[in-house]
């Protein structure tokens, strides 16, 4: 029986890994501007002098702005399975945050059926594995 691998985020502090996973960003307590990945002590809004950025979970749902796929193996540091498996990427608009965030689309998403404006939800997927770990990443999945 295969040993159960430990599931760990591929990067610390960018998303939660519970039942309802969410991206972790920051929101300026002064003006309300969001940042992803998390901001670093200063608000990016030039009209705001805020320095207090609170960590927040970003909206788990958004709408597709655009999408593509990748049919050729990227160079490192992308960790590719052997043989390479193509994957799809979407740019997703979050309404509350008024920003667009990239993410790979859930495995098996059929590009032919995608349209701008479709609703997607954040889920966790496996970015790559080694002998002991399964490295998790956020994916966008079409809301049926």
């Amino acid at each position: 029986m295969p040993r159960l691998k430990e599931r760990v985020p591929a990067i610390e502090g960018w998303f939660t890994t519970g039942d309802a996973p969410a991206l972790l960003g920051t929101r300026c307590t002064g003006c309300g501007t969001y940042t992803f990945p998390k901001g670093q002590g200063f608000c990016p809004n030039p009209a705001c002098t805020g320095h207090d950025l609170a960590e927040v979970e970003l909206s788990r749902r958004g709408r597709i702005w655009s999408f593509t796929d990748n049919r050729y193996q990227p160079p490192p540091p992308y960790v590719s399975p052997d043989p390479f498996v193509p994957y799809a990427i979407a740019a997703v608009e979050l309404a509350e945050e008024r920003m667009v965030i990239l993410g790979q689309l859930d495995t098996g998403t059929d590009l032919e059926t995608l349209k701008a404006g479709q609703e997607v939800e954040l889920v966790l997927g496996t970015l790559y594995e080694d002998d002991d770990h399964e490295y998790l990443i956020w994916n966008w999945r079409l809301v049926q």
């Binding site: 309300g32 796929d69 740019a91």
Partner: protein, 398 residues
């Protein structure tokens, strides 16, 4: 047209683009000597070297102005080098121009050259978990064509653009570049051939994504006084250089970022980043898009060329496909775009490319673009964008 802030372009030179596999300094020397010959000047006349950088071996000091100054033979010229990703060349032009206009020098060499590895551009090596360029490859597998393809698909979704429209951009540029001795690819292609090439990043095919190339480009810039005193009565001129950054909130996803700015607390800017790149150049030169005779735009992908038509103001948003299909942007049309053949025929040699665009405009306004001349061209615009928010646009007049 002429303003007191013009500088003269006395010389332009290029080493042909290709995959030559030699040291970039060699290419740079060829371009520099050609530009000096074109200007009728000696290397000893150059008082300032403005180098366009790219990152190599993890730092930008290797491919830099001083590298070429040493290769040409140390002459004590002052030097600067600037890194602005794909926009480095235009930023180097801007620096040289500012030195001339400030009166710190009369004659400057602007130079960029590179030798590129095969395949996708990759980030600097090592484990760089604080570098968005490293992270986008590691966490997303987002290559440069990923971003180009997102923009291309957006055109399809927003304006009904088709794969055939995009392929026609490639066909046009391939035809334009046929007679250009500096172009790497000089071969006609058909829409069918473009669409039959493998998809790299849907909807973009292999023949629609610019390759990475070796190449070099150089310019000799001078004050107008110096030009007149040295027999250049009516030189080509740099009439504007735009090096703008975005205005917050930038709502278009940009390489190498994971996300756009948030517009939650701010009204969108009047102009998108790419609109503002062209707008700043046009305003500085005191011309409108309707005054342009020719444009060299950064066609990293076929579809991206269409975005630039709208960003420059050659047509309204969503009308670029019609402009292309009506033949307006073909040589002989109303506003020929990429008569050089563009990146479609060159591939990209990062620190040289924005300088090469200005070499082409120089030859166009002088009437020296043999086999690809836009008849009567006197005002040309180049435009380009480097990752991390580097805009660049240059207006050349005569």
């Amino acid at each position: 047209m002429s303003t007191s802030r013009d500088v003269a372009i006395l010389g332009a030179g290029m080493h042909p683009w290709g995959k030559w596999g030699r040291n970039f300094v060699e290419y740079g020397m060829v371009a520099a000597h050609q530009a000096l010959d074109d200007a009728g000047l000696e290397w000893g006349d150059v008082q300032y070297v403005s180098g366009a950088d790219t990152i190599r071996n993890g730092y930008p000091g290797f491919i830099a102005g001083a590298t070429f100054a040493q290769a040409l033979g140390w002459n004590g010229a002052r030097v600067s080098s600037c890194y602005a990703a794909c926009a480095s060349g235009a930023h180097a032009i801007h620096t040289a121009r500012a030195q001339i206009l400030a009166g710190f020098c009369d004659v400057a060499l602007v130079i960029g050259a590179d030798t590129t590895p095969k395949g996708f551009f990759a980030p600097v090596g090592g484990e760089r978990r604080d570098d968005p360029d490293w992270l986008r490859f590691h966490l997303l597998g987002a290559t440069n064509p990923t971003y180009f393809a997102l923009y291309a698909r957006r055109r399809m979704e927003a304006y009904g653009a088709t794969a055939t429209d995009f392929a026609r951009v490639k066909v046009k540029n391939a035809t334009h570049g046929l007679a250009n001795p500096n172009a790497r690819y000089r071969k006609e292609v058909t829409v069918e051939e473009v669409l039959a090439s493998p998809i790299v990043a849907d909807p973009l095919h292999l023949l629609e994504i610019c390759a990475t190339s070796d190449g070099a480009a150089a310019l000799i810039l001078s004050s107008l006084d110096f030009a007149h005193k040295h027999g250049h009565d009516n030189p080509a001129r740099v009439s504007a250089v735009s090096t703008v950054t975005p205005t917050f909130p930038n709502s278009i996803i940009e390489m190498p970022n994971f996300a756009t700015d948030s517009g939650a607390a701010s009204a969108p800017p009047e102009r998108t980043f790419r609109d503002s790149i062209a707008g700043a150049a046009l305003e500085e030169a005191g011309v409108g898009p309707e005054d342009l005779d020719v444009a060299e735009v950064y066609d990293l992908s076929s579809a991206l060329e269409l975005d630039w038509y709208e960003n420059i103001g050659l047509c309204k948003e969503g009308e670029a496909e019609r402009l292309l299909n009506d033949g307006d942007t073909t040589i002989g049309g109303r506003i020929p775009v990429n008569p050089s053949g563009g990146l479609a025929c060159f591939g990209e040699a990062i620190p040289a490319q924005a300088i090469a665009q200005v070499c082409e405009l120089t030859w166009q306004v002088r009437g020296q673009a043999t086999g690809r001349q836009v008849e009567g061209a006197t005002v040309g615009l180049s435009i380009n964008q480097g990752l991390f928010g580097h805009g660049s646009s240059v207006i050349v007049t005569r």
